[in-house]
């Protein structure tokens, strides 16, 4: 059951919401029940019963979403800012990492005509490693992949937490 801050009930009354909403328990800014609004056990039971009707429940959830919207938006904005900040750090780290890792050499070749250039990159010994997330069971190299991945608990996507990894994935997605 949703709990609203003080003032919500009053606002609802003005909009002539169903009377059942008037009995919904409310909280103040300190997350405490307002004594005058705190329903009794029997009242709570009655509210619960009345909210089982579709119309009442729709009205109730609609109001809840509407009232919570500013809070949700603020939380999302804050999360965006945090992520952007982390992404900036990742970005800088990666570019710092790469900035010293490219050696570009030029080699004159007399057997190639002037004006012809041929650029080669040798990416050898990549030794890819696919990490098992820390919360997943330890990877057993000799086990069958399908069998190992088939278990829900072994699926890394359920355990994703690393911001930088998420960032890397995003980079692929955005390019």
């Amino acid at each position: 059951m949703f709990l609203f801050e003080g003032g919500v009930v009053e606002k609802a009354e003005k909009k002539q919401t169903p009377s059942v909403l008037q009995k919904i328990p409310v909280k103040n800014k300190n997350d405490e029940f307002l004594p005058e609004a705190k329903p009794s056990k029997s009242q709570l039971k009655e509210i619960s019963k009345k909210l089982q009707t579709k119309a009442a429940w729709n009205e109730y959830t609609f109001r809840a979403k509407e009232l919570m919207a500013p809070k949700v938006a603020a939380a999302e904005e804050k999360e965006k800012q945090v992520l952007a900040s982390k992404q900036e750090v990742c970005d800088r780290q990666i570019y710092e990492l790469f900035s010293i890792k490219v050696n570009h050499y030029e080699c004159p070749v007399s057997t190639l005509p002037k004006g012809v250039e041929f650029t080669v990159i040798n990416l050898t010994d990549l030794h890819f490693r696919y990490y098992t997330p820390s919360k997943a069971p330890p990877y057993k190299p000799k086990s069958d992949d399908k069998e190992w991945r088939g278990k829900e608990g072994n699926n890394p996507k359920y355990y994703y937490t690393n911001v930088q990894d998420r960032y890397i994935i995003d980079r692929f997605d955005n390019n």
Partner: protein, 252 residues
Amino acid sequence: MTGLTTIDRFDNTCKLLADLPKMLHAKGIEPDLVILGGDYTTKGLRDLHPDAIKALSRLLQNGAKGVFILGNKDYEMGDTEGTKRLVSSAGFEYLSNSYRQIAVKGVEIAVVGMNTYEGGPQMPAFPQSFKPAMKIVATHDFDKFPLGLAEGVDAIFAGHWHAGFDAMPIAGIVQAVKSPDFRRKVTTRRQNSEVAVAPIGNNALIDQSGGAGRYVIYPKVILGVKTPDWASGPSDGSINVITFKGTGTAKK
């Protein structure tokens, strides 16, 4: 290109590959050829995740050609066919004692993939009609590469050695084929981190110190990245890119 949909964890190799095309472009580097020199994983195909394959395919997105060979780890893990299949699916062509013909501005270049593990390395024969302006070789373990096969080769791209060598490309080193101290010289150069980029195809560069033996121009060029230590710090690995610049007077 379809973005990655799974949320997985990668090592630094994938971090590298994610940004590599963009980074090279920013530096004005547009590769014509990407060589994958083997040892794609350490513990087997499970580590060659589909998203890693997608990352590899991005290296060719601007029209670069791609070839690959296998390394010792790929053989030790047993499933060479699976490795070939996966890397091929990224757009790279598998070479095993075979070659790929690449045309750059109408000039033909031969890229040979030398297999030092399966059946021993052999130089493939070119048809008479194919006279490449450059012949370059990709091999994994240079120590297993017979020096006799280096004759007429303009550049050799190798791997396997990892630390101490991958950040140290040597180009245009001229050595006598039969020089007994060849390996010692290479080792010395490696330890001293000497970088020598010298013209290829220029007789003036032939090393005169080897006496009257048979000489070849022996350019040992570029090693790739070293990934296992990347996690410990950025100074351990590097990406080496080389641009061969034509100095000839006329097109063949």
